[in-house]
Symmetry: C2
Subunit: 210 residues, 2 copies
């Protein structure tokens, strides 16, 4: 079975969230143009995306919401929970801990690590925290498959190496440095500073001269 195109995958994650809300409101059907409206894109895009997931709608009735959710889940294959480790219990790390362990059932941050002994050996937002020296051990024992890196730029590569060593499958990196790791490991980066600069640039508040 083929992998879904990355962009489509991102939108499917969003559709699923929207569909859950709609379902809770008691709706059973939705048109592509309605979903498009809710997701701020076009109906053609929505239909293409749903095609990717083998979802059939009914002309003049739209798509059956429960079926849609089911199909997306099946393709994204996270009926099983995703066990996540977070490294770097700083300002950002703590924000993520409180967020995910508040609300997500699929995504679970099951262990957090730091090099500062002040921050470890406790439970923060329901998550046990460990010294980073125990990383490999805990990751293996807890069968953690994803790592989130929220340490400073200077330590990010070292932490990434440890995670790889520990047998992680994928990494989400918030530090503003690209990481080197085996191509077999998926490596996603969120660069908040760049995102703001991008907004500034494309807002055109930078009137070009030349």
């Amino acid at each position: 079975m083929n992998k879904i195109p990355p962009r489509t995958m991102e939108r499917l994650s969003m559709y699923r969230r929207i569909l859950s809300e709609l379902e809770q409101k008691g709706l059973h059907f939705i048109y592509s143009h309605q979903l498009a409206e809710l997701a701020s894109n076009t109906s053609a895009q929505v239909r293409r995306d749903l095609m990717e997931v083998n979802c059939a709608g009914i002309p003049r009735r739209g798509y059956r919401i429960p079926e849609l959710k089911e199909k997306i889940n099946e393709f994204l294959k996270d009926s099983e929970e995703i066990r996540v480790a977070l490294v770097g219990i700083g300002n950002l790390g703590r924000a993520l801990l409180s967020y995910f362990n508040m609300r997500s059932k699929r995504l679970k941050i099951v262990a957090a690590f730091d090099s500062d002994p002040e921050k470890t050996g406790r439970v923060i937002s329901g998550c046990r925290t460990y010294h980073v020296n125990d990383l490999e051990d805990v990751v293996r024992r807890q069968k953690i498959s994803i790592g989130i890196i929220t340490v400073g730029a200077g330590s990010a590569q070292k932490v990434a190496d440890m995670l790889v060593e520990a047998g992680i499958c994928g990494v989400l990196n918030f530090a503003p440095v690209p990481l080197k790791m085996p191509k077999t490991i998926h490596n996603e980066r969120i660069d908040i500073t760049t995102s703001i600069e991008k907004v500034a640039y494309f807002s055109g508040l930078n009137k070009r001269v030349q």
Copy 2:
């Protein structure tokens, strides 16, 4: 003068950061393949990107680092500081405040807003905080051009409307809902949950069946 392609723009932001570090180490020249290595991409990509910015290198010597930085700054046009407002002084909002007002000189979060009176009227990480009712007023008076939204999903659209009303040029939205706003306003979204799901999906720890 033409706008730079979005992807290229993102990478330029990164190159600039890398170049600053190299400059501090006392380096004066760099090859496209070296910059590629540092940025985790290919030398052809780097050369294309630099072309976009009219940067000429010298065969067998590489690119002159100060000139490169200068050219990127010129194109990204942020010699001038970018004045930013943050709305939603929660866990994530506070992390952002501490981060940006620690280190960035170009990007300045000059005002933060919340609806909870407990959180306003103070100074957090060097940033004054206001009640959200004062948003329009403060944004106008302080000539703020970019807004960061870190309120809950339920309030995000309302806050976006207020920012638009106040004359903002661009928005960076962390709430997991797409916002509706005039197409003239650039609107970027960071969806952390989707990013983790994406890592999980492409890590292949979701072994496809069919």
